[in-house]
Symmetry: C2
């Protein structure tokens, strides 16, 4: 018989502790301390309080907790000394059914991991959907994490413990993140479509107007129909647009959505999460036959990543009248022009100008997106409020020194291009760090035709600098370029720096950001605000209407543009709940 | 009527000044101050004293001198306001015979150069052989030097002025560096042979046992015959060995020589200078029908650079019994094994073991080599005494961090492999500089698959560390690897470092180094000692007999492994003179 939150909040301390028994392996003190924070506003609130307890318990207590956990498929399993819960979880992951080779492999990984870190490897084997990783996924995670930094691994073990506890708690309370699962399943199904050359390797790549891309559009449009959208169309650039009508004709619309194209060998959530979360909300409204005083327009943008063609934000750009005619002449790697690709896909190029939106018809734009960064993951927070989409500037640079013999050129007579770059790299790192929320990166770095015995005569590199406001970004750029110049002057080398991109910051509209904040607070999850370092479709809509974004925590240190990108059904459920809350706020405001 | 050194030394100050009039453009004070150092031991001595005067005159005086020079093919030329000397020199270079396009091009270069540096471009247009650059060479030099650092260009102009003065002085004294020219001409002729794919582009590449390589061996052996060597053979590995017999049979031999193979697109002097300088000496002995109490064995080593096969120092290695049988199985880029190449060249592989030398038959080994570095060039010194061939160690390294989104990963949560490398690069630079005569280089550097918007997850690089003694080198290696480890620990990244080469230092044998020192002092050239940063054939002979090397100044900042590698007939003449002096010392010692 599942417990309810009301029961937990009103029970005696002893009874409440009993209710939470068995969450942490041999460590009832965590749940017990958490009870000091009763009443809990939500299960998410209780979960967060428990992470806080552990976070403040100190390293010794954390290590003791980790060490209290049984090894994965370890001797404990053979001797059946696992807790019932652990056995259940490891069984779900198929770990009770290892071949002798798999068993030996996992034993070896256990031994190596313990030897390296001094504590056992912990993985929430039921995984982000709660249905269990398969054995290969577990072995892969094991091998990957063996390379981790000890500090990171300690925290990653704690995060996995929290995830184990989250699932155990869901079981205790009889709660299933049903809509989170729904979003999860849509993402899994959509990820079955991938471009040639990647699909064969099990990699996800969906670039503009490939067969896989067009299949995605079809899938999304069908699912929108299933959800109960009133109008669904694939527009002139390939965006899939679903409209859920307002209670009264002529009312304005809330626009939302994100992109369904991906980078090469990307993740399943980047973009797509922001399509499926509002679809789940509309699905619920339609099931309830509920109409709001405003319409909802969910746009699955066809192109954001600029992979097949250099036409980043093509999908959202077209809605703000920023489709550039010259893009049509661009050729992909196979020489196919964008015009040909669009004609091949049956898109009506002549109609592109017509899809430009009239902002007076809209309340504003919101976008849900996976964070694509480590901040929420490290902070044990499922959701984050975006304060601004950072402005960014990119440069393509070269430092030219003098190539000379590495053996015969004394140190004080060198014009080493790579050493000049090294000085700049450390400056860039420190300068961005000084702001706290600026970032600056030298992502490409190469000594062309370098030889082991030749002092580098040239060094090619890129600069990517971002900050929440244009002024702050420009100050970073100014300082970095000044330092580059000073370093080159001092070292007697020269440089070129060509600006290749400049994107304005898009601060969230305060009243829209406030709606997300109220929604998140309502869920019992602490408010956490952060800028978005990455660009998003909201940047384009920002040009014509107010916008604000919600971030969802990413697993695996928030990695993105990578197959390891992941989030949980529970976190996505919270995103659906937050979005629903925003809809309800707007319903009240516009009623 | 040429002046003599005795006249200059004994003339009144006024007369002496008159004798040296017109050397420096409108700047008689340099020669006048130099006269304070009378008596001059040699013309080389006088030349050096004048460089010293100018070097100590301060930047203003140097700038004034440079600015007193006419523009190349400039308006001065048209208006005929050049000194007679300048006109003569510019005429020799064909600059009085420019097409309108060439004239306009040079005018533009003059304007650009003057605008950038604030002084006119100065080039000793009669060049290193004294016969004059052609117009294209002049324009190329102009364009190259436009990219120079202002401090470097100021010095380079002064060096060109000294070279102009050197030639004017030779004219005044009626001196021609005849043997220097001889060496120059051999080098030019030998450089006409180049491997396919390079010959067509006018590039010099001679790798082991190609047609060009075999042609070089034939040429050298014919020239040895012309010089009067008694025995000449191409040995089992392709070394060309010339023996000039001693006065009495059974006497020991002095071994000398260097290599005739080249790197790809290399210079004409690297290696070959060390063959032709002693050949010029033997040529003189034979002309004089003079026999020494010892024999002279000049070896043109077939392979030192390890370009076609990874078998560096194959030629000299074979003489010390270090020919590795497994080399024979190595394949070149076209799949031709070394064994096949040797058979194709008619070499008798079975005899390789027989060419190992018995050290008791030799006095020792000396080698003349172009410096391949900037030290002598910057110090205005034609010759340098090598104290040691540096020991070296090389590593192939990788730093592995975590690739993450450049926009979304806060600065304090990054594991940036390139920033870790940057820290190391600056440490490497400072650590080697601290020793004064150690060198350490990160020559190859690459962020594999780097993207402008991705924090570098990995960084591949090489380390090359050298020092005059093995202990000093090992201390550098130890400190660098310790720092690499500390940086990686602190930054939470990991690294691998694989040692790929370890070569012992070869300190010069003191008594042999002393012979070079006496020879150089005798020429009136200041003694300058330096380690050799590059490896040389002398390293191999070092394993079985005493050795010492002499360095000859390189032009163009001492650049090597590059078509710009150059030295002058005058410097090579001094090398021949120094070598002759060593022979004479040995003759006295062994008589």
């Amino acid at each position: 018989m599942p417990i309810t939150l009301a029961q937990l909040n009103h029970a005696s301390r002893e009874d409440a502790a009993q209710m939470l028994d068995g969450l942490y392996e041999h460590s009832p003190w965590i749940a017990e301390q958490a009870l000091n924070e009763r009443p809990f506003q939500s299960l998410a609130h209780l979960k967060h309080v428990m992470t806080e307890v552990l976070q403040h318990a100190g390293r010794d207590a954390q290590l003791a907790l980790i060490r209290a956990h049984p090894e994965l498929a370890g001797k404990a399993m053979v001797s059946k000394s696992l807790t019932a819960e652990s056995t259940n979880e490891q069984t779900k992951a198929g770990l009770t059914d290892c071949t002798p080779e798999e068993f030996a492999k996992i034993q070896q990984l256990n031994a190596d991991y313990n030897a390296k870190f001094g504590f056992p490897f912990i993985l929430a084997v039921r995984g982000p959907r709660g249905v269990g990783f398969n054995k290969q996924q577990i072995i892969d995670a094991f091998e990957r994490r063996l390379h981790g930094h000890p500090d990171f691994e300690l925290q990653e073990c704690l995060r996995n413990i929290h995830r184990i506890v989250e699932i155990r708690l869901n079981d205790k309370f009889g709660v299933e993140p049903t809509l989170g699962h729904q979003v999860w399943d849509w993402q899994e199904k959509l990820a079955q479509h991938s471009d040639p050359g990647f699909a064969e390797k099990g990699q996800l790549t969906v670039t503009y107007l490939t067969d896989a891309h067009r299949a995605c559009a079809q899938r999304i449009s069908h699912w929108m129909k299933d959800c109960g959208f009133d109008e669904i169309e694939i527009d002139a650039v390939g965006n899939v647009v679903g409209r859920y009508h307002p209670a009264s004709p002529g009312a304005r619309y809330l626009m939302t959505g994100s992109h369904y194209d991906t980078v090469r060998n990307g993740g399943k959530y980047d973009g797509r999460l922001g399509i499926f979360v509002p679809m789940a909300c509309v699905q619920q409204l339609a099931l309830q036959q509920r109409r709001l005083p405003f319409g909802i327009e969910v746009v699955a943008f066809a192109e954001e990543e600029g992979q097949r063609y250099k036409a980043t934000f093509l999908g959202s750009g077209a809605l703000v009248g920023d489709f550039k005619a010259e893009w049509l002449q661009q050729k992909d790697a196979d020489g196919v022009t964008m015009r040909e690709a669009m004609q091949h896909a049956g898109l009506c190029i002549d109609d592109i100008a017509k899809i430009r939106r009239d902002p007076t018809q809209y309340l504003g734009f919101v976008e849900v997106h996976i964070e694509q960064g480590p901040v929420l993951n490290e902070s044990h927070l499922p959701l984050g409020i975006v304060t601004s989409i950072n402005g960014s500037v990119r440069y393509q640079c070269e430092i030219v020194g003098t190539a000379s013999h590495a053996g015969t050129t004394p140190m004080n007579r060198r014009r080493d291009a790579a050493c000049a770059l090294a000085e700049l790299a450390l400056f860039v790192e420190q300068r961005a760090a000084r702001d706290g929320d600026s970032v600056a990166t030298i992502g490409q770095l190469n000594v062309p035709n370098g030889s082991i015995n030749v002092v580098p005569g040239a060094c090619l590199f890129t600069l990517d600098m971002r900050a929440p406001t244009d002024d702050q970004r420009d100050a970073v750029v100014r300082d970095v370029l000044a330092e580059l110049s000073a370093i080159c002057e001092r070292r007697g080398v020269r440089y070129t720096a060509e600006e290749t991109l400049r994107a304005a910051a898009a601060p969230s509209a305060p009243e829209w950001q406030a709606r997300w904040e109220r929604a998140v607070s309502h869920l019992g999850v602490p408010l956490f605000k952060l800028p978005s370092g990455a660009g998003h479709d909201a940047m384009k809509l920002h040009e014509i209407m107010p916008q604000a974004m919600l971030f969802v925590r990413g697993e695996n240190a928030g990695i993105s543009h990578n197959p390891l990108e992941s989030t949980t059904s529970d976190d996505m459920q919270l995103a659906v709940d937050a979005f629903t809350h925003v809809l309800n706020q707007l319903a009240l405001e516009t009623a």
